[in-house]
């Protein structure tokens, strides 16, 4: 192989440059970046345990929607016996009125764009 040393050195430099964003984040301590949704509610609990809500809130919203619109059933009984009116604007967004710092932070990170807000009215936020 002619100029083997140069080629290997070139490859090493190339790989270092290409993967530099990863190394940069590791060094800067940003490798474990997670979105940081801000909870402003005075209440201690969500309508279900936190971990479950993080993973399943979209499914819960779908079942609320079907229950209200198709079955005219509006009362959600939480696991702890508390009852909630099943409504996106009137329940979720009452406790989470900071949509841009809460819902959107995660959704931007995960690149999801729920189309609910084409119709449901976003809570007014103080900018």
């Amino acid at each position: 192989m002619y100029d083997g040393g140069k080629i290997v050195a070139g490859l090493v430099v190339f790989l270092a440059v290409v993967t530099s964003p990863i190394w940069y984040n590791v060094v800067a301590g940003k490798a474990e970046y997670r979105p940081d949704p801000k909870i402003v509610s005075q209440e201690k609990q969500c309508v279900a345990p936190k971990a479950w809500m993080t993973a399943m809130h979209m499914t819960l919203l779908n079942s609320w929607r079907d229950s209200v619109v198709r079955e005219d059933n509006r009362v959600y009984v939480a696991a702890n016996g508390k009852t909630y009116n099943m409504s996106l604007s009137k329940t979720c967004m009452q406790c989470h009125p900071n949509k841009s710092e809460f819902c959107d932070r995660c959704h931007n990170y995960a690149s999801v764009n729920p189309y609910c807000w084409d119709c449901h009215v976003e809570p007014k936020e103080k900018k």
């Binding site: 198709r70 005219d72 119709c119 009215v121």
Partner: protein
């Protein structure tokens, strides 16, 4: 294959028992269903078996001819975020007025009583007992509820507009454009619609759930709109229909409309 008398009697006996048993079971189930329906709705909700509306047209027409009253339409369109595009081609309407000969084409003839021709009649979704819009909807976005309300699930509407073609009353409107910029005062507690969905009057089912009567009924100062449960023999609607002559819009089509007009 022969069935002897003894076996035949055994089988019919068993059949009769099963029949009687299922009647008892059905009674239990259906009774529970009615109770369950009450239990699961909000406290204080209006629960009915067959919602209907009676329009006292004399009162309404008098008021409209006096001062061009549109109170019911304004109230309804405000609380439901109905846009005003300002042009009849894109118009979205849940409740509006039609001249007599358009509202009741089969009643109209050249010798119609004076004052009726051209008189404004308030019209909206008839919440038919046999709704053609429901039959044609390919996604079941529109369906008939147990209490008779012809409901729309906006989440499922794909905008095919079959329902608009099927409805003989023109009760449905289509969002050709994004309605948001054309709503003057957006009400936060009722969602708007988006481009590409159909909409119509829902008998204010979201208000009934909170124990409120429909917005148009509440807004009518001359009490020309009377809302109630047709299956409740003591209800005001039953009382009025019992004591007055009433007509429906295009009853010959077999849609069984549930808006009754006293003329």
């Amino acid at each position: 294959m022969g069935v002897n008398r003894r076996d035949f009697l055994k089988i019919t006996g068993l059949g009769a028992l099963a029949g009687a048993g299922s009647k008892v079971a059905a009674d239990l189930v259906f009774k529970d269903q009615a109770e369950a329906r009450e239990a699961r709705s909000n406290k204080g909700a209006f629960v009915g078996k067959r919602w209907a509306m009676v329009v006292d047209t004399k009162k309404c027409i008098e008021k409209v001819e006096k001062d061009g009253c549109r109170d019911c339409a304004i109230a309804c369109h405000t609380v439901h975020n109905v846009p005003d595009f300002g042009n009849p081609k894109d118009e979205i309407k849940w409740i509006w007025q039609e001249p007599y000969e358009h509202a009741f084409p089969n009643q109209h003839h050249p010798y119609t009583a004076e004052g009726l021709e051209g008189a404004p009649f308030v019209v909206f979704c008839n919440h038919c007992d046999n709704p053609p819009c429901v039959r044609v909807c390919p996604t079941k976005a529109t369906f008939k509820r147990e209490d008779g309300i012809v409901m729309m699930d906006f989440h499922r509407c794909i905008g095919c507009r079959f329902c608009m073609a099927a409805c003989p009353y023109g009760s449905r409107s289509f969002n050709w454009r994004n309605p948001r910029p054309f709503i003057q005062n957006i009400q936060e507690n009722f969602p708007t619609r988006m481009r590409g969905v159909v909409e119509k009057c829902l008998f204010c089912e979201e208000r009934l759930a909170e124990g409120l009567s429909p917005a148009c009924v509440e807004a009518c100062k001359v009490k020309a709109l009377i809302f109630g449960d047709l299956e409740d023999p003591d209800s005001e609607v039953r009382e009025i229909l019992h004591t007055h002559r009433s007509i429906q819009r295009k009853p010959g089509l077999g849609t069984m409309p549930q808006i009754y007009y006293i003329v």
